[in-house]
Each structure stands twice: as structure tokens, then as C-alpha cells.
């Protein structure tokens, strides 16, 4: 790298690190992004790629809503490169209880300025013809999007470079020290260090409550128009919310290529990345219960990845008091693509001592976290 000293060093060139690079560079900081591998090749690459509003908690709703508005306002070049497709989400109710909960959910979205549509048995099938007949209804959220997140990350890094940021790839950070990072024999110094290392964040800041939550995904050959929206079961929220050792939920996405991506699974098995065929089988079977025609679609690839999960399902954004100069932007679990932009703006506000647009306190990395509260 050049001899000049950086003001901020961001560890991790995933989508969160890339978004932080843009936000800090926009504030006039000289930014250096360092990644052990390459941009977007870790946690970012493994995920589905959606820009969705989720309401597991008021704080999650605030951050996802805020982040989504930032995606809408994003630089044109970044939006185009990200292949943002505002296809919307159809949340599918499986039973009457889930159906009856929909008006309250609709009101909650409305309170946050989002119009949605409650679907009955007929309009649900009109919205997504491949859903099984007899499902009682659902909620159409038109404002959600799917995105090609590796390309979005590259575009964000390119934007950051136009504002003077530098990106160093294939450079593992071995240790974060006060106002610096150690890479081999070298220590690079800056006033602001951001740990945005995704699922690996806790290996650099061991006290962080981030654990790997494994997932499986499948992608098919091209079936343009097979589904029109991202489609997920309402039970997905429950599957994501409770830290059980293993759960699956129906969630499919239409990709810009015409391919269909099928998820999702959650497991707590440490860093074992191997394909668990039983879980994969359960996950596909669950998807086929909702969308029987999926069974005959041809899969070209399966893979696994790790979500950086926190016990209370909220990311860690803000100062880390134990290490001078250290800031955290990690623990986004399955929502890092959506919340990358909100995280970055929030972090930049905190670094600059500005009042953030949403309350930052619930995301303080050193907050007392309790697991599985519900």
C-alpha cells in the first residue's frame, strides 16, 4: 500500500465492510479495507441476497426499514450493478392462526410507512401460481427486493475507491491492536479500526457474541417467471428467531438470471461446513410442501455457509470499549445484505459523533445480550 497513513482501517471486504468504506470515505476519512481473501468471498457470497424488511423485533424492523430506504436512495451505478429487483415478498400463511395475525403485521408495516396487501386463498394463488392450493392466505410486501450481493459489494468498493479508499485483498489480519491491525510482521495504524469480518468477527475480537449459524442453499437451472416474488413462509421468522440446533423454513427467490434459489436451513454445528444431506433433504421437502412444482425443477448447485448470529438477533454496531479505536460492524446473521447500508450509515454517524437517524443503543456491541427471548 501507499506510505500515507489511513484514518480508518476496515477489516473485511464483505458487503458490510464495503458499505462502511463508502460511508466513512464520504465523511472525508482516508479508508483502507483489508480482507484475508477477496471481496465478498466469505459470509457475503454464501447468502441469498435480499433487501427485506423484517419485524422479529422493533429494533430489527427499524434497522431493516432504514436500510431498505438507503438501498432505494443508493447511487445509480451501485443499484444497477447490484441487479436490484424490487420483486417484493409474499409471506405465506400456513394456517388460520398465521392468517389471523396478518392484519396486525400489516398495521405494523403501515406504522413504518410501508403499504402491504393481505392476500386470501385466491389472491395468494394469483400472486404465486405455483403455491399449493388450499393455503389460507398471505401478505404481499411490494417494497422488498432481491439483489446479487457479490456484484453489489464490488460496486460499493468501486464507489469507495472513487472517494479515495484503498482495498487490500489476500491480506489476513492476525490481530486487532489499539488503533491498529497486525498483518504478519507489519502493524498498520489508524484512529478508527472497524471489525467487519462477518462470520469470522469473533476470531479477531473474541468477546463478541457472534457464533456461526450454518445454512444450506440450492440453486436451479433457469426457469424465468417460475416465481414472481420472493416467497417465504411466515414460520420463517420463528425458524430464524429461536436458536434451536436445527430448523428449516420455506424461502425461494427468483434470481435475475431466471434461476430459482431455494432455502433455508439453520444449524448450530460450529464451523463444520460439510453438506448435511438430511438437513438439505428436509429443507427441500419443506419447500415442496408449499410449492409442489419445485420438485421437478433441476438443481445445478448446493452449498453451505455461515451466518454470523448474535443471541438477540441484532447486529453489533458501534464502539468496542475494551480496545482503543476499535469499532464493530458485525453479527448481522441472515440480514447483512439488507442491513449493510444502515449499519454503515449508523457507524459513520457514531464515529463522527452525529445524531443517527435511528436509535443506535440497541445495537451497541457491549450491550447485555440475552438469548432466545420471546
Amino acid at each position: 500500500m501507499s506510505a500515507r497513513r489511513a484514518d480508518a482501517i476496515i477489516v473485511g471486504a464483505g458487503i458490510v465492510g464495503a458499505a462502511c468504506a463508502v460511508a466513512l470515505a464520504r465523511d472525508g476519512l482516508r479508508v483502507l479495507v483489508i480482507d484475508a481473501g477477496g471481496a465478498a468471498l466469505g459470509t457475503t457470497a454464501a447468502g441469498m441476497g435480499h433487501v427485506v424488511v423484517m419485524d422479529d423485533s422493533p429494533e430489527q424492523l427499524a434497522l431493516t426499514r432504514y436500510s431498505q430506504s438507503l438501498w432505494r436512495a443508493q447511487d445509480d451505478a451501485v443499484r444497477a450493478a447490484s441487479e436490484l429487483d424490487w420483486c417484493g415478498t409474499v409471506w405465506v400463511a400456513e394456517d388460520e392462526a398465521q392468517l389471523e395475525a396478518l392484519p396486525a403485521k400489516q398495521q405494523l408495516y403501515r406504522d413504518h410507512g410501508l403499504e402491504t396487501e393481505v392476500l386470501d386463498e385466491t389472491t395468494l394463488i394469483e400472486a404465486e401460481p405455483h403455491l399449493r392450493r388450499g393455503l389460507p392466505g398471505g401478505l404481499l410486501v411490494p417494497s422488498d427486493a432481491v439483489i446479487y450481493q457479490p456484484a453489489a459489494t464490488i460496486a460499493l468498493l468501486a464507489l469507495a475507491r472513487t472517494m479515495g479508499a484503498e482495498v487490500l485483498q489476500r491480506m489476513p489480519v492476525e490481530e486487532i491492536v489499539p488503533c491498529g491491525v497486525r498483518c504478519g510482521a507489519d502493524t498498520l495504524r489508524a484512529d478508527v479500526i472497524v471489525n467487519a469480518a462477518g462470520a469470522a468477527a469473533a476470531s479477531l475480537t473474541p468477546q463478541l457474541p457472534v457464533i456461526p449459524r450454518k445454512g444450506h442453499l440450492v440453486i436451479t437451472e433457469r426457469y424465468p417467471g417460475f416465481c414472481r416474488h420472493q416467497v417465504a413462509e411466515l414460520g420463517y421468522l420463528a425458524s430464524a428467531h429461536v436458536m434451536t440446533s436445527e430448523s428449516v423454513a420455506f424461502n425461494v427467490q427468483p434470481r435475475s438470471t431466471g434461476q430459482v434459489m431455494v432455502g433455508s436451513s439453520r444449524e448450530l454445528v460450529g464451523w463444520d461446513a460439510s453438506m448435511n444431506r438430511r438437513v438439505l433433504g428436509r429443507m427441500i421437502a419443506r419447500a415442496c410442501e408449499f410449492m409442489p412444482a419445485l420438485a421437478d425443477l433441476v438443481a445445478v448447485r448446493t452449498w453451505t455457509g455461515f451466518r454470523p448470529a448474535t443471541p438477540d438477533k441484532l447486529p453489533l454496531i458501534g464502539r468496542w470499549p475494551d480496545v482503543p479505536g476499535l469499532w464493530i460492524a458485525a453479527g448481522h446473521e441472515g440480514l447483512g445484505i439488507t442491513t449493510s447500508l444502515g449499519t454503515a450509515t449508523l457507524l459513520a454517524d457514531l464515529v463522527a459523533s452525529r445524531e443517527p437517524a435511528i436509535d443506535a443503543a440497541p445495537f451497541a456491541p457491549d450491550r447485555a445480550v440475552t438469548a432466545g427471548v420471546h
Binding site: R277, R278, L280, G281, R282, L294, V298, T304
Partner: protein, 438 residues
């Protein structure tokens, strides 16, 4: 879904797979052979009726049909699960017409053969440009080439039979462009004097198109035409020229199909599966034979198949005559590999807009700045499409020196229902699972 047990499962019914199955059944083993094609024979012995095949092919196919090996055709192996205990292997195959076969076996012989190597050059995706395999398939389907001007370009002995066959089918072969230099081809030909059968076969092919110029040290640099091939540009070390033609048939050698072997964790070296004297791979219970262990031709594939088949049947020692034959043919294969090594110029034919990944329509410029095949895949989708890098993977290696990425399930495109039924029916009940998913 059907679940059966076998003593030996052979994947691939080409020369190596057939020989392996014959030897194992002759030793009283219950053998299941799986192949994607509607007929046995693989690429090299592909046929519609056995009568059109040479004597050697007919003999082996007859021998296989007289055994009680169970040959399942029209099935694709989509998953192989190696259990925690030695000899606990589960093979999951999808029938093209629907249905899933699950076969448990203590011994698996991987005889998955090889695929063609494609060298990307400007115009290589134009209609009218085909690989040798594509041309052979057209010939065997009885397509007519009468009056067609054909250029054949590539390397090695495999381009000779296609030149002969196209000539027989009425084509006018304008030139056979062999990229290897004259000295290399001559030295290789002279070295074959110790293997008169091979030499004789080459001579017969040569006679078949005697009036056709066989230009050594010559290669096609580009193909041109608006929506159909109209001509090619050709070069040698001294000069370059153009030739009008209707068909360009390229054959830049073969690449071992190592995906299955890599998926189950077999050690590979130089793009081929590493095997010991008994054709055993580094994974207990898994053997490999034929082109997948290195490109060496039909004779070597048969010898390796025979040895592997006997080994899975518990043969205490290797038949010394087979071992000698294998050794002699491996020597020829190594000479051939050296003689027909791809020249440096072929690595720089692709221009910025030349398509490298056909499935996703990715040009050279879109990936040239990346560091490896994973970046090319994630950032530009090269290798992400239907073929999962089977075509562009070797091209990326040739152009940029990038190694292929991790092999992921399924091994062949498979219905979602196949993946779920096989898993839920207990195909995955084995305790351990060596295939890393990410």
C-alpha cells in the same frame, strides 16, 4: 426410489468401465454399471448398432452382455456418499426418465472418462464451429457433409480419425491444422515404431485423406462469419492466412472427468486421479480406471479397467501381462502428452469480447483482472451456469492458470425431488460425510 446392494459399482460404461465390470463379474461379484448414455460404449465406442463398431469394441461389449452385470443406462450419478467405515459407499443416481436409484457398495470404480478441451478463440461460439465429439456425434447420426468445406484444427491423434470420417462422409477437408511443431510430431511418430499396431492405425487414417494437407505447427487464430461460420484465420510461426470454410472442427485434446473423484476426496495430480498399482485411489474402496487417471487412449483404459475390476474382486496379485501392457501404454501416453502439449500462442487468442463461459455469456474482459476461478464465478458468473464450469474450467486454467473450484453437489444437474428423496430415505444415514460443502 429403489435401494439395492452391490459388490461393485462401476460409474461409466466406456472401455475402462466395461473391462472393469467384465473382470469383476467373472470373479463372481454382483456388479452394477451406471451410465448416462442410452447405450454402453462411452464416447469412444458410441454406437447405434454394435455392427458399426470395430472388432475390439464389439468383443468387449459382447463380453459385457454375456455377464450378469446389471447395466443401468440413462442414469446420472448425482451424489456419492462415503461412510465413516471403510467399504460403506452409497451411490445416488437419477434416471433420466424419472426415479432415483440408491446403491450401497463396498467398492466403487470411477471410470468417468474425459471431456474435450475447448480453447476459446474469436468466433469459437459461431454456428458451424464444433468440437470433435460434436462432429463424431453428427457423423454417427448419419448427417451428410457432402460438398462441405471443412477445416480441422487441434492437436494429437484424435483429430486424424475425424478427418478420415468426414472425408468418407463426403466432406472436403481443406486442411488439418496440427498445432504441435513438425519435430514433435515426427519424434512421436518414430517412437511408435515400437508399437506397430498404433502406427498402422495412424497410417490408415493418414491414407484416408492423403490429398488433404496436414499442416503441422499450424493453428486457427479466429473464426469469422456473421451468424454462421464463413471462414477461419490460420497461422504458423512465420505467417498467417485466411481460408473460407463451412465447418470448423476443433480438437485440443481431452481433460479427465475428475469431478466425482474430487468430490469424494480422491487425491489428484496434474488434473488426473492418482492411483496405485491396483488402480486404487487415496480413498479406501474407491478405484479409478481409464482416461480419468490420465489421457492414454482405449487400450490403456481397457488394461486399467481389467486391473481395477480384478482388484475389487479381491485378486491377490495383478496379472503380469496386464501390468506390462499398462506400463507400455502409459509410456506412449506420456510421450504423446509431451509431443502434443499446447503451444503458448493458444493461450492468448481470446480477445476482450471473446466468450469464455458459454452458459452465462461471459467475455474475457469481464474476468481477466480477477485472481482465481472463484472470483470469476462470483463476480462475473463465469462457470456458474448449467455446465457448472465443465467447459470453461479447463479454459480458465489454460488462459489464466486458475485451478478449478470446489466440486459441489449435485454431481450432475438433478431434480430437487431427487436430492430430497435420496436424503430422506436414508441415503445419508452414514455417520460421516467427507464432502465439504463450501
Amino acid at each position: 426410489m429403489s435401494t439395492v446392494a452391490a459388490d461393485v459399482v462401476v460409474v461409466g460404461a466406456g472401455p475402462a468401465g466395461i473391462a472393469a465390470a467384465v473382470r469383476a463379474t467373472e470373479a463372481k461379484r454382483r456388479v452394477v454399471v451406471l451410465d448416462e448414455a442410452p447405450n454402453v460404449g462411452g464416447q469412444i465406442w458410441r454406437h447405434r448398432s454394435v455392427g458399426t463398431l470395430g472388432a475390439d469394441a464389439r468383443t468387449w461389449i459382447d463380453r459385457l452382455s454375456r455377464t450378469n452385470a446389471e447395466v443401468r443406462r440413462g442414469v446420472a450419478v448425482v451424489d456419492v456418499i462415503v461412510g465413516g467405515e471403510a467399504g460403506d459407499i452409497t451411490v445416488v443416481a437419477e434416471r433420466h426418465l424419472g426415479g432415483v436409484d440408491v446403491i450401497r457398495t463396498p467398492a466403487l470404480i470411477i471410470a468417468t472418462g474425459a471431456r474435450e478441451r475447448f480453447v476459446p478463440f474469436p468466433g469459437w461460439t459461431l454456428p458451424g464451429v464444433t468440437g470433435i465429439g460434436g462432429a463424431q456425434a453428427l457423423l454417427k447420426q448419419g448427417a451428410t457433409f457432402r460438398g462441405k468445406r471443412v477445416v480441422i484444427a487441434g492437436t494429437g491423434p484424435l483429430i486424424l480419425p475425424v478427418a478420415a470420417s468426414l472425408t468418407d462422409a463426403g466432406a472436403r477437408v481443406v486442411v488439418v491444422a496440427e498445432q504441435a511443431p513438425f519435430q514433435a510430431v515426427r519424434d512421436f511418430a518414430l517412437s511408435l515404431l515400437t508399437h506397430p499396431e498404433t502406427l498402422l492405425q495412424a497410417a490408415i487414417y493418414r491414407l484416408a485423406f492423403l490429398r488433404t494437407p496436414y499442416a503441422m505447427g499450424t493453428w486457427v487464430t479466429s473464426a469469422s462469419g456473421t451468424d454462421q461460420l464463413a471462414g477461419v484465420a490460420v497461422a504458423n510461426a512465420r505467417t498467417a492466412w485466411s481460408l473460407p470454410c463451412d465447418l470448423l472442427c476443433t480438437g485440443y485434446g481431452l481433460v479427465p472427468n475428475v469431478d466425482m473423484a474430487r468430490f469424494v476426496g480422491c487425491t489428484t495430480a496434474d488434473g488426473a486421479v492418482a492411483v496405485d498399482e491396483r488402480q486404487a485411489t487415496s480413498v479406501p474402496g474407491i478405484f479409478a480406471a481409464g482416461e480419468v487417471t490420465g489421457i492414454g487412449g482405449v487400450g490403456l483404459a481397457v488394461a486399467e479397467g481389467e486391473i481395477a475390476g480384478a482388484a475389487t474382486a479381491g485378486a491377490a496379485r495383478i496379472d503380469p501381462s496386464l501390468a506390462r501392457r499398462r506400463q507400455a501404454l502409459r509410456v506412449v501416453a506420456r510421450r504423446m502428452e509431451r509431443a502434443f502439449a499446447l503451444r503458448q500462442e493458444l493461450r492468448s487468442l481470446a480477445r476482450d469480447d471473446t466468450v469464455i463461459c458459454r452458459c452465462e455469456d461471459v467475455g474475457r474482459a469481464a474476468i481477466a483482472s480477477f485472481a482465481d476461478s472463484r472470483q470469476a464465478k462470483l463476480y462475473a458468473r463465469a462457470g456458474m451456469g448449467a455446465c457448472q464450469g465443465r467447459v470453461c474450467g479447463p479454459a480458465l486454467e489454460l488462459l489464466f492458470g486458475w485451478q478449478p473450484g470446489t466440486v459441489r453437489s449435485p454431481l450432475e444437474p438433478a431434480r430437487l425431488s431427487t436430492l430430497s428423496t435420496a436424503a430422506l430415505a436414508g441415503a445419508a444415514s452414514s455417520a460421516a460425510d467427507p464432502s465439504a460443502g463450501s
